[in-house]
């Protein structure tokens, strides 16, 4: 599947931005994943063409980074952290609940194709809100079973982030008071609000 015009434009813009074209490899891989949901060999070949670099270099770089998917997964990605700070606050129990609730094992996709979930040992940077998970790279903190249920219910029908008009920019977050959904400060701030009054 050839890359969309818009993605190609993004790749070319990145190449022009950096002092070295090679620095545009990660932005290009992100652009491809935004469009197609994962990164194929074919797409890496296209990136190589647009950047004027050998395809082997693109794959050498891509394969180092854990966030680039190489095969299609569920429409939504749910990742729960089980590193020590989260473990201390019940992440194992929450991961077990997610497994029961979705009926598929760690790393698998629900039969309806809506959710791929996995646990990770890589800290996601929300230890203060543990147990926590990321849904399509958006933070969901202080998880309870009810909260998890509500999130899964929403994801069953929500389109994948890359299918939205604005890639990765909306999906999981409800718009705040009719404003454009943005998370910078609003979406992920409950921890901040709690502190430093």
């Amino acid at each position: 599947m050839p890359l969309a015009e818009k993605t190609v434009e993004r790749i070319r813009a990145s190449a022009a931005l950096y002092p070295s074209k090679q620095s545009a490899i990660l932005p290009a891989l992100w652009a491809v994943q935004h469009e197609q949901g994962y990164v194929t060999d074919e797409a890496m070949g296209e990136i190589a063409q647009h950047l004027g670099l050998p395809p082997s270099l693109i794959e050498a770089t891509a394969s180092f980074y854990s966030m680039f998917l190489t095969r299609p997964e569920g429409r939504h990605e749910v990742v729960i952290c089980v590193n020590a700070p989260c473990m201390l606050r019940g992440a194992d129990e929450m991961a077990a609940y997610i497994e029961r609730r979705l009926g598929v094992r760690d790393g698998q996709t629900t039969p309806d194709g809506s959710i791929t979930w996995h646990s990770t040992i890589e800290c996601l940077g929300a230890c203060g809100g543990a147990p926590m998970m990321q849904v399509d790279h958006r933070f969901e903190e202080d998880l309870t079973r009810e909260k998890v249920d509500a999130i899964f219910e929403r994801l069953r029908t929500a389109p994948a982030p890359h299918e939205m008009g604005h890639p990765e920019k909306a999906a999981a977050v409800e718009p705040v008071k009719g404003e454009k959904a943005r998370s910078g400060a609003e979406g992920a701030r409950p921890r901040g609000r709690k502190t430093q009054k």
Partner: protein, 428 residues
């Protein structure tokens, strides 16, 4: 001592992430003042302030800047926003609440070292924070804070926001630069240090998010003002992330020198569920465990080092008396195994074998001799790895064996974890 808010002073303000609000709170006056000064004066100012890097190593920021070779251009400023240390979430808080403060700090640092191009390398998982910075950069550019001939002073600056893609190692400064250049994020040999040969082989300074966030305040209020806060060798404040078994986990900015007890018992709300404190870790996953007897140690690089641990990235992980220390150490070791880049053998193989041995303690097949086997593997990684990732993978487990050896022995004699009723599956 109470909270001392410098970086987080205005964090209760609604919409602080917006340029107008940030400016109303005095934002960008530090940058304006900086542009009135000569770059060398700024370097001297920051040297005199005593600011030390907040990324973990605590290296004096002004000194780092002054290592750049004279007359070699271009040179680059890189802001390290690849925060990935387990237990640490302060950079995320600083970015999402006040992205302009980070950006203003980056701009001041770039001007001070004479860079016309700066980069912010943010970890891939921080998508909302990436967007917050993206918006901030757009707003700043439209307002004339980025671009050519800034504020009529003839200085030109652009900032490129670069998104990582899931690699803890890229928080190590040379690995970060390699990654920014588009390669696999593997660390490089030092020397040459980035100040001499950094990004694209040019002189480069890498500063942490919290470090640069201090700069607007130091420029505005002066070196003496900053140097009067904190301890003789640890000036200013730090934003401490407190997590684990406390009532009020979160980020708290306190003056350096504040006792650990205050952070845990007052700001963190004390140990939860009326349980007793068993242990805590003052610097995130990498750092050695400390005990309740260390509660009166000061939150300060040197004081914590003297107590046998490290302040690291400012992440306080608190563990109550129900915690299985063996399992906590196992998680961290698995983390380092997962994040080892594979470049050097001691780290790649050592973390793998440590993780395997740790699993035997949890699944009940460990032997008494495996405790010393862990120490032996750790000994052969620490100081023999290419970069600090390997070294750091051994510090917490070895300190846990030192203080809680009996727990390892119980795992052996009870053929499994005495803290859990059911057998534990391997994680991740």
């Amino acid at each position: 001592m109470a909270l001392k808010q410098i970086l987080t002073r205005d964090f209760g303000t609604e919409n602080l992430h917006q340029l107008q609000v940030y400016e109303r709170k005095g934002g960008y006056t530090g940058f304006k003042k900086a542009l009135e000064m000569q770059p060398d004066e700024l370097v001297e100012l920051v040297k005199k302030s005593g600011l030390r890097g907040r990324g973990g190593a605590g290296f004096p920021t002004g000194n780092k800047w002054s290592f750049l070779p004279k007359g070699m251009y271009p040179r680059y400023l890189v802001c390290n926003a690849d925060e990935s240390e387990p237990g640490c979430f302060k950079d995320r808080y600083l970015i999402e609440t006040s992205p302009h403060q980070v950006l203003e700090g980056v701009m001041i640092a770039a001007y001070a070292i004479g860079a016309n191009l700066a980069f912010i390398y943010i970890r891939g998982e921080y998508l909302p924070q990436y967007e917050a910075l993206e918006n901030a950069i757009d707003e700043a550019r439209q307002a004339g804070y980025l671009g050519k001939n800034l504020l009529g002073k003839g200085y030109e600056l652009e900032v490129i926001l670069h998104r990582g893609a899931g690699a803890y190692i890229c928080g190590e400064e040379t690995a970060l630069l390699t990654s920014l250049e588009g390669y696999r994020g593997e660390p490089r040999l030092k020397p040459p240090f980035p100040a001499i040969k950094g990004l694209y082989g040019k002189p480069t300074v890498v500063n942490n998010v919290e470090t640069v966030s201090n700069l607007p305040h130091i420029v505005l209020n002066g070196a003496d003002w900053f140097a009067a806060i904190g301890t003789p060798t640890g000036k200013g404040t730090r934003v401490w992330c407190i997590s684990g078994h406390v009532n009020k986990p979160g980020n708290y900015e306190v003056e350096n020198g504040t006792p650990i007890r205050e952070l845990i018992e007052v700001h963190g709300g004390g140990v939860w569920k009326n349980r007793k404190l068993k242990a805590f870790q003052p610097g995130g996953a990498s750092m050695m465990v400390l005990l309740p007897e260390h509660l009166d140690v000061a939150l300060d690089f040197d004081a914590i080092a003297k107590a046998g641990s490290m302040a690291g990235a400012g992440a306080m992980v608190v563990m109550d008396d129900t915690t299985c220390m063996v399992d906590a150490a196992r998680r961290y070791v698995k983390f380092f195994q997962h994040e080892s880049c594979g470049k050097c053998t001691p780290c790649r193989e050592g973390t793998f074998w440590m993780a395997n041995v740790f699993d035997t303690f949890e699944n009940g097949t460990a032997r008494e001799t495996d405790i010393d086997l862990l120490l032996d593997i750790g000994y052969n990684i620490d100081g023999r790895s290419f970069c600090p990732l390997g070294d750091a993978s051994t510090w917490f487990p070895r300190s846990v064996i030192k203080y809680f050896r009996d727990e390892f022995q119980e795992h052996v004699s009870e053929k499994g974890c005495p803290f859990k009723k059911q057998p534990v599956e391997a994680v991740a």
